[in-house]
């Protein structure tokens, strides 16, 4: 299992807790960094503000990105991630309550790797989180640091 950080971008503390619980139940022990809004998420990724000391080369293993966020919403965060060569190769999973088509299409248009709808039923939710972790942290081979997309 990759030991990279999971960046969870989520403003709802309940959802943060449930996601953490889902990850725990899925036996996923990777460090989870929580960003409460879009600005915080970009600060982390680009090592700005609170995260200015962080090494930009240490990219998270996966970003779980909620769409509805204060300040900068999830789609815009995704757009910014993809517009910067340093963050362009990051696997980004859109994790949202929405099943609105425009969100789905918008996410894939902007280069999301996955789109997962958070179900109301916790058991289903926990299963979705577990499978996400399994796929992105175990099965998926991430881009090498400074490799593809860092042009």
């Amino acid at each position: 299992m990759a030991d990279g950080v999971i960046l969870l971008v989520e403003d709802n503390p309940d959802d943060v807790e449930l996601t953490m619980r889902g990850l725990r139940q899925g036996q996923i022990a990777n460090e989870v960094v929580v960003a409460r809004d879009g600005v915080e998420a970009l600060d982390y990724l680009w090592c700005r503000g609170e995260w200015s000391e962080r090494d930009v080369e240490e990219a998270p293993a996966v970003v779980l990105l909620d769409i509805q966020l204060p300040k900068i919403d999830g789609l815009e965060v995704l757009e910014q991630i993809r517009s910067d060569p340093r963050t362009r190769p990051l696997p980004v999973v859109m994790l949202t309550s929405s099943n609105e088509e425009r969100d789905l299409i918008g996410s894939y248009d902007l280069g999301a790797n996955s789109f997962v709808r958070k179900p109301v039923d916790f058991e289903q939710f926990a299963e979705a989180v577990r499978q996400l972790g399994l796929y992105w942290l175990v099965i998926n081979e991430p881009a090498p640091p400074g490799g593809a997309g860092s042009d």
Binding site: E17, R21, K118, V120, D121, F122
Partner: protein, 616 residues
């Protein structure tokens, strides 16, 4: 003077001259027995010389024949003698007591020439009458017909013998006005000049009618003193027919002119209106007799139009120039009222006069303007409404979006933390507490389903319709396959009519089919021999009617109206779970396709759902 008087005067003259023959300028000679001339005066001597005779010679044989008719003093006889280029009339007067005969001559050369000329003239007249190319009748006072010429007989078919009198003629040839003609003819003989009798309808022998125009004139007296008159006829049948045709034609054109439905007038090259119909008079606001021949067309043109239209007027009559034939202009009545008029004008070929038709379109234009204003208002309102609708739609969309996010997140928390409590504090909870938490979770999940279904229902109204050729049979098979995968324990016989295709929105129709087949699947759940059928039948106006039939729980037709209302359910949740939104969603999908959906059923006897699709 009578003939008897004339004869007496001549005898007296002879008597006087007999006494002085030598002084008589007319030839006098005396013939004795055996026809010997024994005396001749100077004039007679000249005459004899002309004949190669002299006194003492015997008179020519013809003289002797006259003498041989043994005239007597009471019965003198006459003879004519031609000597050279002169003609003499001689009267032979025997004087028995002296045994000789006196011959008294008179030079009648000029008289004879005049008589011959008269005869010639009369013959010419007769020929003229006879050969005239038009009918002529000569008739005497009292009614006797003296002559009808050849043309008359040919034209009427009545022989001269059939019309001995004017009365016979009028009886034959006139129907009703015969009496008037007879009276006219009788008056004719008292007139002195030519008379135009006028026209009469003549009936010919073979029943035809002709129109004859008569001229008559008294032309003197007959030897018996009766007045003589000549009537000349002219056959005007053809001319009258042509004139009638022309008149009828003119009347027709006049009628057309009056009834064009437009105000029509003729305008001469000086812009004077020479002829106007009633409609034009009404438009102008003056009687026709004040318009025709006096009104200048420019007087009824609004000032700002005059220059343009006078230009047209001149151009229309100028070689090589043109002017529009149809246009609108501002017309001014004589009362000064402005009217909008449509004009159609053209120069009559071969003339300088134009014919103009005017239609008052003031009201039409006004109505059009009002319509325009109304249309603009309507468009404005449509724009407003559209904007409002778009705003409402945007609001609805924002609401739906917000519902989708914000309503579900708390539910997830309720469900998730309830589960967390059950999992993490299981030993602290008794059965009742666990049951309550289970109920909390079930309620939040049900609310999640409700939210999802509601969102789907609202999405069906909001999304744009994309029609495409869709194989409904194949789509139904996919839906059934999914149902079988979800409920592998169920045994359901499903019959799907093959090759049903329609031009529909693939995704929306999929939602509808999923709901209908899903309902059929759900409401047959308690049957061991469940059967579902999807097929179609011919409907009205060539429309296909699709149907989904099941043999399941069915429903009471009394509540059929509630089936398609959102949140309306005919079964309890613990019997057949559901949100009551599925059929409302089906109806929206079908309605968006321009079709209709309805249901038939009975409790425990299954249900049939019918729907149509307006396949463009």
């Amino acid at each position: 003077m009578g003939n008897a008087g004339a004869r007496r005067a001549a005898a007296r003259e002879r008597e006087v001259l007999a006494r002085f023959p030598a002084e008589n300028p007319r030839p006098v000679l005396r013939v004795v027995a055996d026809g010997i001339v024994n005396y001749a005066n100077d004039a007679a001597m000249a005459l004899l010389a002309e004949l190669g005779l002299e006194v003492g010679d015997q008179v020519p044989r013809s003289w002797q024949e006259t003498l041989a008719r043994s005239p007597s003093p009471s019965r003198p006889c006459a003879m004519e003698v031609t000597a050279g280029d002169r003609v003499f009339a001689f009267t032979c007067a025997p004087v028995p007591e002296f045994g000789y005969v006196n011959f008294y001559g008179m030079d009648i050369t000029e008289q004879r020439a005049a008589e011959e000329a008269l005869i010639e003239s009369e013959q010419r007249f007769r020929r003229a009458v006879a050969n005239a190319p038009f009918p002529i009748m000569l008739h005497a006072a009292g009614g006797e017909v003296l002559t009808v010429n050849e043309v008359w007989v040919e034209a009427t078919g009545y022989a001269a013998e059939e019309i001995p009198t004017v009365g016979d003629w009028t009886e034959l040839a006139y129907d009703t006005d015969g009496d008037a003609v007879a009276e006219y003819v009788s008056q004719l003989h008292e007139l002195t000049g030519r008379v135009d009798e006028g026209e009469f309808v003549i009936r010919t022998a073979d029943g035809d009618t002709r129109i004859w125009h008569f001229h008559s004139a008294p032309i003197g007296q007959l030897p018996d003193g009766r007045g003589l008159a000549m009537s000349i006829a002219m056959d005007v049948t053809k001319r009258r027919a042509a004139e009638n045709a022309l008149r009828e034609s003119e009347e027709r054109y006049r009628t057309v002119f009056e009834n064009t439905g437009a105000a029509t007038c003729l305008i001469d090259e000086n812009r004077t209106i020479v002829l106007a119909n009633q409609g034009f008079a009404r438009l102008v606001g003056a009687p026709r007799d004040e318009i025709e021949g006096s009104l200048d067309f420019t007087e009824v043109i609004a000032p700002h139009e005059k220059e343009r239209m006078v230009g047209y007027h001149d151009a229309r009559r100028a070689p090589g120039r043109e002017a529009p034939n149809r246009y609108e202009f501002d017309f001014v009545t004589l009362d000064g009222e402005m009217r909008r008029v449509f004009l159609h004008i053209d120069v009559i070929p071969g003339t300088e006069t134009s014919v103009a038709s005017l239609v008052d379109i003031t009201e039409l234009r006004q109505a059009q303007k009002e319509l325009q204003v109304l249309t603009e208002e309507l468009e404005e309102r449509v724009r407003d409404r559209t904007a409002q609708l778009e705003a409402a739609n945007a609001e609805l969309e924002a609401f739906a979006y917000s519902v989708s996010h914000d309503l579900r997140a708390p539910l997830r928390a309720i469900d998730g933390f309830s589960q967390a409590v059950v999992e993490d504090y299981a030993e602290d909870l008794d059965d009742t507490a666990r049951d309550y938490l289970r109920r909390v979770r079930r309620a939040s999940q049900r609310m999640g389903s409700l939210i999802d279904d509601l969102l789907q229902l609202s999405r069906i109204t909001r999304v744009e319709l994309f029609r495409d050729r869709v194989d409904l049979s194949a789509m139904a098979r996919e839906v059934v396959d999914e149902l079988r995968a979800q409920h592998p324990e169920r045994v359901v016989e499903v019959v799907i009519e093959p090759d049903m295709t329609a031009d529909v929105d693939r995704r929306l129709i999929r939602t509808a089919l999923s709901n209908l087949l899903g309902n059929a699947w759900k409401y047959t759940a308690k049957l061991s021999e469940a059967k579902i059928e999807f097929g179609s039948q011919a409907g009205e106006q060539g429309r296909r009617v699709y149907r989904v039939i099941d043999n399941g729980a069915g429903f009471d037709m009394q509540y059929a109206g509630k089936l398609f209302q959102p949140f309306q359910r005919l079964h309890r949740e613990d019997e057949f779970p559901g949100t009551g939104i599925g059929l409302a969603t089906v109806r929206r999908v079908i309605r968006r396709h321009g079709g209709d959906v309805w249901a038939e059923g009975a409790v425990d006897e299954g249900a049939t759902f019918y729907f149509t699709l307006n396949e463009a």
